[in-house]
Amino acid sequence: MKGILSLTVNNRPGVLNRITNLFTKRNYNIESMTVGPSEQDGISRMTFVVDVDDEAVIEQITKQLNKQIDVLKVFDITNQSIVARELALIKIMVTTQTRAEIYSVIEPFRASVIDVSKDSLTVQITGESDKIEAFIELIKPYGIKELARTGTAAIPRGMQIAHAKSATIV
């Protein structure tokens, strides 16, 4: 099963190393990971997507992360209503014959073309992982020259915050 963990950490040197090391040490596999500044100065938010056998493993990962001194809060948002997004940049091969067809695929996915050359198009797409997966599958037959994907960034939906533990940092 897939688990999604959202955590806030002190933005200090070595913190990322400490956290990824923890995954290595405990033999947990990270499917994707994003890090970036949060709404508070000096505090970063990380989102981990992990592929694990069962919920007990996610609980264990959560506890181990919580033990880290520079980890402020860990939220297991696997079973919550969340907004999750990732970004992919895809350079697709095009010919004069396929160009129009590719545009027609891009359209319904609300992806956007951000670079055009004689024989390629670069498309930016954001959305949930599944949507990006589906788009890549559709576009594959045309030929993908290069692909770059971010991990998932996720936060719980606004309506839940009142029920979940406060998301702010003490």
Partner: protein, 571 residues
């Protein structure tokens, strides 16, 4: 000349101090009694200030000796052991000790030198990525970027190391950070640890659940680990056990937390535990784990472990609860607070006479045993003699292997903080230096450093420090000319193929002791052993005794790997 305190200096108008001055001042404020260390290029500025300081420093002969000594000190006092080593090789030499302290929850504050910030990352002379290397084996680590941060960092380090589940904290100090000056403020440094709030007070509802589970139990057992010792809760454990009449099993590291002579003590459990203790763990209907981490050497095959039991687990580290064994009643908190609360609840005492009678019967029917052979010195007998001659009052430190298991089996401990061993990491070379630390922690105690002939040779250079300080440690070598436990496993599981486990030659340990200025004896019979121990214990200073014991003696009983605790061999 004495080290001037930064605080005292303020009156004289001095406002700027070097990192080394900040460091030593902060260590003094933490009431550090002893520093174990080894100088080198990157820590020279620190050692230069140390030269004129009141801080007591011991120059061990290897950094590994320094950190194991600090572990011994920490195990006995509960206070963080302090270590200073230089960058690169100095720091990499303490890696084993850090991993050892991490897994056995021993508080340490380790200062490592680092090359100057201007050359970090350039593969400079004696540079190693110490933060990277030590991250998985420390509770926390720091690299100093501003000298004036040191007072706060040291304060945090001592707090982190000794609170919650104790563990090692490393502080990496680049050489220039020790030299350049930072401005001192008059204020006490404020800790900045929003992400660290260990829970010591247990949840009331969980305690109630446990009280109810106890009152209805037919076959309850307490599994007491080192968490009881770390929390200094031995007296409370005894009080609770006597209030409820529940039998106790100890883990290897927990020994001494509950008196071995107590009628409710069932024994040590695990791979080389006694039959009654392992049957107690196998047949119980309520297992109350207090401060143990369900190590695989304790549980045996997890699928067969405590199959019929409701598991309750009291631990200060929430991540330990449910990690290896599914837990019905989780109690996050210190053993001390949890036991105090359990005692206060004074729940209905369970009716378990049948169960306790059964355990006593098992202990009588299947005691620890070995066969006497005429004219042969048995290692178990050596340990028994040590126990008799010291009235069971000594602090015992060990290496790892057969002698360690025999010490755990045949030296019953009645008091806390008298057993120093490397349980989790299983570190050979631990015994001698940890004895050094233990003796400094408790100068009046009789300290027995028990090693095998293998482990002894891994850190024997610390004989030099023991001799220099004339520490009255009795150094016991249980010498079977082999890596005993390896040899045993090869006999049992590898068809007697003794691949590289039998030593072809040894130094003469008596002459070796003599070279260090320590009286040494070799004994080969029980009578010699007895006489020699009498002499050794009367000697005011270190003594080394080389006990030549039977080579092909095995540690029994035993639970083979993959077997359940109720499938013991050699009972």
């Amino acid at each position: 000349m004495t080290q001037k305190s930064v605080v005292a200096d303020r009156k004289s108008g001095k406002t700027h101090y070097s990192g080394a001055e900040f460091l030593l001042d902060a260590l003094k404020k933490e009431n550090v009694e002893v520093i174990f260390g080894y100088p080198g290029g990157s820590v020279l500025p620190i050692y230069d200030k140390l030269y004129s300081s009141e801080l007591f420093h011991i120059l061990t002969r290897h950094e590994q000796g320094a950190i194991h000594a600090a572990e011994g000190y920490a195990r006995i006092t509960g206070k963080p052991g302090v270590v200073i080593v230089t960058s690169g090789p100095g720091a990499t030499n303490i890696v084993t000790g850090l991993a050892d302290a991490m897994i056995d929850s021993l508080p340490l504050v380790v200062i490592s030198g680092q090359v100057a910030t201007s050359v970090i990352g350039s593969d400079a002379f004696q540079e190693a990525d110490v933060l990277g290397i030590t991250t998985p084996i420390t509770k926390h680590n720091y690299q100093v970027r501003k000298p004036e941060d040191l007072p706060r960092i040291i304060k945090e380090a001592f707090y982190i190391a000794s609170s919650g589940r104790p563990g090692p904290v490393l502080i990496d100090i680049p050489k220039d950070m020790a030299i350049i000056e930072g401005e001192s403020t008059d204020k006490e440094p404020e800790m900045d640890l929003p992400g660290y709030q260990p829970t010591t007070k247990p949840n009331y509802l969980q305690i109630r659940k446990l009280v109810e589970a106890v009152s209805g139990a037919k076959r309850p057992v307490i599994l007491a680990g080192a968490g009881v010792l770390h929390a200094k809760a031995s007296h409370l454990l005894k009080e609770y056990v006597e209030q409820q009449g529940i039998p106790v099993v100890h883990t290897l590291l927990g020994l001494g937390g509950f008196p071995a002579e107590h009628p409710l003590f069932t024994g040590m459990g695990g791979m080389h535990g006694c039959y009654a203790a392992n049957m107690a763990l196998s047949k119980c209907d309520l297992l109350i784990n207090i401060g143990a981490r369900f190590d695989d050497r304790l549980t045996g095959n997890l699928a067969k472990f405590a199959q019929h039991a409701t598991v309750a687990h009291i631990d200060i580290d929430p991540a330990e609860i449910g990690k290896n064994v599914p837990t019905k009643i989780p109690v996050v908190g210190s053993a001390k607070e949890a036991l105090a609360e359990l005692i206060a609840q004074n729940g209905k005492k369970p009716d378990i006479d049948v169960w306790t009678t059964q355990l006593t019967a098992w202990n009588e029917e299947f005691p620890l045993r070995y066969t006497h052979e005429e004219g042969v010195l048995k290692p178990q007998r050596v340990i028994q003699m040590l126990h008799e001659k010291t009235n069971g009052e000594a602090i015992v430190t060990t290496d790892v292997g057969q002698h360690q298991m025999w010490a755990a089996q045949y030296y019953p401990f009645n008091k806390p903080n008298s057993w120093v061993t490397s349980g989790g990491l299983g570190t050979m070379g631990f015994g001698l230096p940890s004895a050094l630390g233990a003796q400094l922690a408790n100068p009046k105690a009789t300290v027995l450093s028990i090693s095998g002939d293998g482990g002894f040779q891994m850190c024997l250079q610390e004989l030099s420090v023991i001799a220099e300080m004339n520490l009255p440690i009795k150094i016991i070598i249980v010498n079977n000319g082999a890596l005993g436990m390896v040899r045993q496993w090869q006999e049992l599981f590898h068809d007697n193929r003794f691949s590289h486990s039998i030593f072809q030659s040894h130094p003469d340990f008596v002459k070796l002791a003599d070279a260090y200025g320590i009286p040494g004896y070799k004994v080969t019979t029980e009578e010699e052993a007895s006489n020699c121990l009498d002499v050794a214990l009367k000697t005011d200073g270190p003594v080394l005794i080389d006990f030549r014991v039977k080579q092909k003696e095995n540690v029994f009983p035993m639970v083979a790997q993959g077997k359940g605790l109720d499938e013991m061999e050699g009972v």
